[in-house]
């Protein structure tokens, strides 16, 4: 099920665009989370949390779904495979985990946005939640940087399944 070179390039372009876009959007989300936590200006705090909800729903969620999906297409449509190389598998599991964590945290993000839309957050109010948002966005940036690094460096190492397939293909190709 190998893709044609033209289709592979198209899928790769989509995958890189969605993945790097996801990293950039989460970095922006982190900046808003820090501004919401540290700013003394009520309007900036309000704008930050409202902006975070919009960014999460309309940018980060679509990208967090599109990136692993195009990654899956890339891995299954090329000789890399999904389970053959550790770096592909590790990267895929990392992005799936990050997406699940993001989806679980949409409700608290919405809660904060509703609070700032209706009232004025006083200093320290919902502090635990606001600190957690900064910590989680920071962790997400780190995880996505690791995923990007894995894609570029492609560290060696085939899984037992990968080796089995490798030996099978060599046996078939040898006369």
């Amino acid at each position: 099920m190998t893709m044609t070179p033209r289709l592979r390039k198209f899928a790769l372009t989509a995958h890189v665009t969605f993945s790097v876009g996801w990293l950039g959007a989460v970095a922006g989300f982190l900046a808003l989370a820090i501004a919401g936590l540290t700013s003394q200006d009520v309007q900036i705090v309000r704008a930050a949390y409202l902006g975070m909800e919009l960014t999460a729903w309309f940018v980060i969620v679509p990208l967090s779904l599109a990136s692993p999906l195009t990654g899956l297409v890339m891995s299954l449509g090329t000789t890399w495979g999904l389970f053959r190389h550790y770096w592909v598998l590790v990267k895929f599991l990392m992005t799936i985990f990050a997406t699940i964590v993001l989806l679980l945290h949409l409700q608290p993000i919405g809660h904060l946005a509703r609070v700032v839309a209706e009232t004025t957050l006083i200093r320290g109010e919902l502090g635990g939640l606001r600190i957690q948002l900064v910590a989680n966005a920071g962790a997400a940036v780190l995880a996505l940087l690791v995923a990007t690094t894995l894609s570029v460096y492609k560290p060696r190492g085939m899984t037992p399944y990968g080796w089995r397939k490798h030996h099978e293909e060599r046996t078939v190709s040898e006369p």
Partner: protein, 40 residues
Amino acid sequence: MKTEESTPRWVYVFGIIAVVLVLLFVVLHLTGHGLGGHAS
């Protein structure tokens, strides 16, 4: 003995870090310190 087919060290390092982070995440949520708790 280390062979070409043995699992690289970086995979073990990643695995250990992943297990620690997942446990941390689960423990934080179970103890009410996670985002779902709406802690103030």
